[in-house]
Structure formats: C-alpha cells, structure tokens
C-alpha cells in the first residue's frame, strides 16, 4: 500500500508521481539529450503546464547547483553532477516520498560528499519522507531519524541510529560497516562499561579525553610506528616510469612528468579523485597506453617494445566493472580465455584453470553463463580469469565498488594473501579505509602528478596535505589527529590499533 493505494492495482507510472526513485548508476537513468530536458522529462509526462515546468526546472537546477550545464548532454557530466542531475529530475516531479537507492555508491569522495550534502539540504527544505538505501553509514547515520536493517530478506533492526550503534558489532557481523567511532566505543565497552555509544566524530572527540590518562599519554611517543617502507632499495624495481607524460588526443594532459618506482612484492594503493590520472597511469603498466613522452619499464623492458599480449602475462589488470571483462559463454571458457590467447600448452592451461577454480569455488559453475552469475560471483570470476594468466604484478581497479562491506573485505583478504606469497599488488581506490587497512605504501595523485608517496602511515598522518586533494583519512585517524593535543598518535589506521592504544592509556579508575 502506498498512501492508501494498493500497489497491485495500479501501474508503475501511477506511483512514480507519488514516489520518486533515484537509482545507483547515474548512467542508466539519464534518458534525455540535455540536462534541462532531463529535469523537465518527468513533469512533461504528467502533462504539467509548460510555464510551471520551466519554473520548477529553474528552481531545481539552481538547488542542485548544475544550472550552468543546462544545455549539456547529461552523460558528459562528472559522476557527482550526473547524480545531481538525476536527483533534480526526480524532485521536479514533486513526489511525496523520495526513495534513493545507493545514490553515492558509484561516486568518488567529492561526488558522494556533494550528493549527500544535496540530499540533506533537500530533506531539510522539503520536509518530505526520504528513504535511502545505503552502505556508507558513517556520513549518513547522523542525518536520519530511523534505521531499518535487512539481512537475507528479513528485517532485523528497526529503530533509531542510537539503537543501531548500540549493536555495532552485531551489525558488522552481517557485513555492514558502522561508523568507526561507534566500533571503537563498542570495543572499549569491555574495559569501560560506562562508555556511551558514539555516533559522530564530534561526539567521540568530546568524549575520549575524559577517559584518557593525560599524564600517561603525554609521556608516550607521538607516532605509533616509525616503520620504513618495507622494500629494500637494493631490490630491482618491477615497474619504473621515467618522466612519463600522457596527453590524450583531445589535448587533455592526463599525466605530468611522473617518476615512480614500484618494487617487487610491494602492496601499493593509488588514490586520488576521478580525473586525477589513476587509471591512465596503470594502463601504462600493461601497455594499454603508451607514454606520449618519457618511458615506462616493466621488469626492465621498455613497454614501447612490447605488445599488450606479451605484457599481459606479466601484469594482470582487473577492471572496475566485471561486466566489461567477461566475454565468454561459460565460466570455464572465461578462465581459459587468457591462457589460450597467449597460447600456453593445453596441460598447463588445464592445471591453472583447475587450481584457480578451486581457490574461488567456481568449479560447480563451470558450464554456466558468466552473465547469469550474481554480481559478487562475476567479480570473483573476473579476478579469477586474470589469475589464470599467473601475472607477477596484479593491478585491481576499485576492488570493492558496488559490493557490500563483507564481500569487499573477503576480496581484499585474498589479495593480501597473494601479496604475502610474493606477488606485487597495486590497488586503485577511493576508499580510504581500505587503503589504510591493507596497503603498505600509498601514492596520492592529484591533477596528473604524484602529490604524495610514502608508507601509508606517513601519508595519512599528513591530514592537512591530504585535504588539498579532497581526500579524508579514515574516521578513526581523524579522531586521533583531532586529539593530538592530548598526545595521541596521528597515524593510527584501524579501529583495532586505536582500541589497543586507548586501552593502554586508559585511566584505570579502580586502581
């Protein structure tokens, strides 16, 4: 029942006037040739008079801050702007209820911040019912009135955000990702039963000093670990770029004078906003792109002298969206595709396919069509079909986008094991928590240049500098940095580290 109408008795177009839907993928919901037409489209369909449509369109373009793109093809906007345009299109229909389905999951940090900001201002202004389906809870929880948690088709929690964070560890178990400060509070409960549940960074900043023993903290040293980068400089670099420039045919300079060395066995995260050159850079590592100036060496060999199919046996590159990678009729053929292309002997192919299928549990699906698998399985298959090439270097572009926390984490654990067995792993990501937890070295790109490069701890401890690229360290790192006056180390990266640290420096009231 929606506002008293039975959903079985009326068609979709009857309800879309009452319930405005915003979907996850902005590309699939923009159907008109210009931004203006897109925003007007819904209202036109319900035969709203042209004058009224014009008024609403003007108002909403302004509200969503995309007025200057009026005449542009919506597909040529940035991710955040596309979603803003789609949102404007929904608002113009004046629905009574808004339903937003993971509106930020395909966006980079700037984009998702922008969209969440717009949604908040919308909710405040319109006072309409707003339903958001989302994984990103740290930003969202403080904004909402009520949280409904679903698992396997059942509602397992229906209450306030406070109720949610009181059960933070239980929520984490079913694959959700509560705000890091809530997790910290939850973990500290064992030691300090009186700790209140924490929802926002501000609450945590206020609360934490009360339980810390100032004298103890002051005496301890300011930085957690002074670990150096883990590679030895005597190691030969496996990838080396020398004054690498890339200018696209249209004249856009994507990379400027990059000098990077990546050593054998490293685990590197490359982070940066959309358009900062991350993907362009790694496409040079397997020869998909060639420098317009400068050189790239892979295992000492100039990529100009190698074809992509030769490099593909050394550098495996897993793309962001599995749907663009799968291309065969069965799962088995998919796994064989790479090794067959480079004409490995049949015996070797069979062995590799068998091994990889076992690791990923894909054996039972051998004869299924890859496109009929679930999204998580498709992602697995995409990675598996690269691993049958047994590349020495594995590059993964956005390993967790569009997945829930648990699936993403499992994949990350898998890459970690590969890395421990000696493979060089490079991940490209927007997800700072992920980079912080797994990568040993972090390279920050900004406008086609290497902006920061160092051990992950070094990079995240410089929050000010990081801010220039609109990236934020994990919430837990921010918390500790905000309390640096109390002597807390600025380079804590995970909740576990933070918990251990706090426990060591708690005021032991009973003593």
């Amino acid at each position: 029942m929606i506002r008293g109408y039975n959903t079985r008795e009326y068609g979709i177009s009857y309800f879309s006037r009452l319930v405005g839907l915003l979907f996850q993928d902005p590309d699939s919901q923009l159907v008109c040739p210009t931004v203006e037409d897109e925003v007007a489209f819904g209202a036109e369909n319900y035969a709203v008079p042209p004058e009224e449509i014009k008024r609403r369109v003007d108002e909403n373009l302004k509200l969503m801050r995309i007025k200057r793109y009026r005449e542009r093809n919506p597909h040529r906007l940035s991710g955040g702007e596309k979603q803003a345009c789609a949102l404007a299109a929904v608002i113009t229909m004046l629905p009574k209820i808004f339903v937003l389905d993971e509106p930020t999951s395909n966006l980079d940090p700037i984009g998702s911040h922008m969209v969440l900001d717009l949604i908040t201002s919308l909710a405040k202004r319109e006072r309409r019912t707003l339903v958001i389906v989302e994984h990103k809870l740290a930003e969202l929880l403080p904004l909402v009135d009520r949280v409904i948690v679903m698992n396997e088709g059942k509602i397992i929690l229906n209450g306030t955000p406070q109720d949610f964070i009181e059960n933070a560890d239980k929520m984490a178990e079913i694959g959700l990702k509560p705000p890091q400060v809530s997790l910290l509070a939850d973990k500290l409960k064992k030691y300090i039963p009186s700790i209140p549940p924490l929802l926002t960074l501000e609450e945590a900043i206020k609360f934490l000093p009360q339980i810390l023993d100032r004298t103890k903290v002051k005496n301890s040293f300011n930085s957690l670990h002074q670990e150096k980068r883990e590679f030895k400089s005597s190691n030969r670099p496996v990838i080396e770029t020398q004054d690498l420039w890339h200018v696209y045919p249209g004249g856009t300079t994507a990379l400027k004078s990059m000098n990077l060395k990546i050593y054998s066995g490293e685990y590197v995260a490359i982070v940066g906003q959309n358009g900062s050159g991350k993907t362009t850079l790694v496409k040079h590592f397997n020869g998909l792109l060639k420098p317009t100036k400068g050189r790239v060496y892979v295992y000492g060999e100039d990529t100009f002298k190698k074809r992509i199919d030769e490099l593909s046996t050394i550098v495996g590159y897993c793309f962001q969206n599995p749907d663009f990678q799968l291309c065969c009729r069965t799962v088995e053929k998919e796994l064989r595709f790479g090794p067959e292309n480079v004409k490995l002997p049949e015996k070797e192919i069979e062995k590799r396919v068998k091994d990889v299928a076992e690791i990923f549990g894909l054996k039972e699906y051998f004869n299924e069509n890859p496109f009929s698998l679930s999204k998580g399985q498709r992602q697995k298959l995409a990675v598996a079909s690269i691993l049958t090439m047994e590349p020495k270097i594995l590059i993964v572009d956005e390993p967790t986008t569009g997945q829930d926390y648990k699936t993403g984490k499992n994949m990350m654990e898998f890459y970690k094991r590969l890395n421990e067995r000696g493979r060089t792993v490079i991940i490209i990501t927007h997800d700072m928590n992920l980079a912080a937890e797994y990568a040993k070295r972090t390279i920050v790109l900004k406008d086609g240049e290497v902006f920061m490069d160092g051990s992950t701890r070094e990079v995240y401890s410089q929050a000010k500098k990081l801010e220039e690229t609109y990236l934020k360290p994990p919430q837990i790192t921010e918390l500790f940095q905000a309390l640096s006056d109390y002597g807390l180390p600025p380079d804590v990266l995970t909740v576990d580290e933070a918990t251990n640290y706090v426990v060591e420096h708690i005021i032991h009231r009973g003593e």
Binding site: R17, L21, V31, C32, N45, A47, D309, Y317, F324
Partner: protein, 280 residues
C-alpha cells in the same frame, strides 16, 4: 560527436524545426534533380555560406569531409566510367583498358563531378542541420508530423547514449587486451574477425542490460502515464520569419522540381557545352 548540437542564436538556429525539415527537403530535391556541376556547385556554395553564417566550427565540417575522401574518390571513378545517362557522341580521352573498354571521357568527367557534388550536398546538409537544431526540437517536429512520441523518445535516448556505448565498447576491448587478446591486426579481415567474435557477445549482453535499466528509469518518471497528452517545456510555434522562410522554401522546391524537365536548366550538358565551346 557527429550529431552534437552547436548552440547559437542565428537566423537559422532560430527557425522552427518544421521549416528546417522543409528546407532539408528543398535542398535534397535540388541535389537530386540537378545534374550540372556549376548549378550544383552554387547549391553547395550556399550551404557553405550557411555554415559560415551560423559560425559552425569549420574543423568539424572539414574533419568529416576528410573522413569520406576515399568513398568520394571511388564514387567519382565509377560515375566517370559508367555514367548512368547515355552519352551522345562523348569526347573520349583514353581507355583504361585499351583498346575499347572503360572509357574516360569529358562527358563522363563532367557528369561525375556533378554526382560527387550532389553526394556532398546531401551529406553536408544533414550534418549542418543537426548541428543547428537541438535533437529534442527535431524529434518534436517529427512528432508534430505524426511520429508516435514513443518513437521520438527512442530516437533521442538512442542518440544520447551513443557516447556511453562507445566508452563501454572501448572498455570491453581494453579488458580483453589485458588478458592477452589481440585486436591490433594489420590485416582487415583478421581485425574484423577479432571484433566480431570477441566484442559482439559482451557488447550485446551489456546493452541489453542497459536497455532494461533505461526502460525502468523511463517508467519511473511516468512516461507511459499518457504519452499522447504529455506537455513539452519548450513547445514550438511558427513566427513571422518562419512563414516567410517557408514560403521561400516552397518556391525553391517548386523551382527545383520544374527547372530541368520544363525549362531544361541545370542539366550537365550546360557545363559540357560551355567547356566544348571554350575548347573549340
């Protein structure tokens, strides 16, 4: 992109899209009915003047012309050798295969030049009109002429998605190359085979999924609520200039239809006889 609108506020930009369609018709009738290179040249020249007047980016027009050079050359050769009109007493220069097959004659060349200009007129015309008319208006005009709104929407959405699809296909090819598949063959047959066998399946299954998503998006904005009585934010309306331009266009149209059959003008023999007189 080939079909992208170039914003502007010139006389031609402002015309009602229905008048623009009439104008397209007039030009096409002229191009088809005339066969004389000089007459056709004048028509093409006026088209170039429109491009200039509307301040359209010349680079894009030029780039497009460059792209079709090979086709034009082949078209020219065929028309020279086999002009579809019977030539009376042609002035033959030489035979491509002596002694007497595939003749190259003055008459053939004059005819072929006309044919090439005609070809260029039609292609350039369509491109220019799409550059000065927003897709939405063009479709709206077609809907007013009786095209069902559903078709109109399909057309606009289709064109809007071209850049997205091109990007996706690029990604698919790159992903396969990253797994050792070769696209970069010199041999066009091998290249075509690689494209056909490897790109087709993922491209189709992707666009099918995409189509479903788009259909849901369109539904959720209520398109099927009552497409026939939906309103349009910018409706199109005839202005005074539109009536005047339409009258001129109709006049041109009538003239173009009558010129050759009634007055015997604009026939390729006009230029031919000019040249022959000069040679004598």
């Amino acid at each position: 992109m080939a079909f992208e609108y170039v914003p502007g506020n010139t006389f031609f930009h402002r015309l009602d899209p229905r008048v623009k369609i009439a104008l397209i018709a007039a030009f096409i009738v002229m191009a088809v009915s005339f066969s004389d290179p000089i007459w056709l040249g004048c028509v093409y020249f006026s088209l170039l003047m429109i491009i200039r007047y509307c301040k359209l980016p010349w680079d894009r027009v030029k780039g497009f012309l460059k792209g079709i050079t090979l086709v034009v050359a082949v078209y020219m050769l065929f028309n020279t050798i086999y002009p579809p009109v019977t030539l009376s007493d042609p002035l033959i220069f030489f035979y491509l295969i002596p002694p007497s097959s595939l003749p190259i004659s003055l008459d053939g060349i004059v005819w072929a030049i006309g044919a090439v200009v005609r070809f260029l007129i039609i292609l350039t015309l369509l491109r220019v009109m799409l550059m000065i008319t927003p897709m939405k208006q063009m479709i709206l005009a077609l809907v007013k002429f009786g095209l069902p709104p559903e078709f109109g929407l399909a057309l606009t959405t289709g064109f809007g998605y071209l850049p997205v699809l091109a990007d996706e296909n690029q990604k698919i090819m790159e992903a396969q190359q990253a797994r050792g598949f070769r696209y970069g063959y010199r041999n066009p047959i091998k290249k075509f085979k690689a494209l056909f066998t490897q790109l087709l399946i993922p491209a189709i299954s992707n666009s099918m999924r995409r189509t479903q998503d788009i259909a849901i998006a369109i539904e959720s904005k209520g398109f099927s609520y009552d497409p026939r009585s939906r309103t349009y934010m910018h409706s199109i309306k005839f202005q005074k200039t539109d009536y005047v331009t339409l009258a001129v266009t109709v006049f041109i149209l009538v003239f173009a239809v009558l010129a050759r059959p009634i007055f015997g003008w604009a026939n390729y023999t006009f230029t031919l006889s000019l040249i022959k007189n000069l040679m004598l």
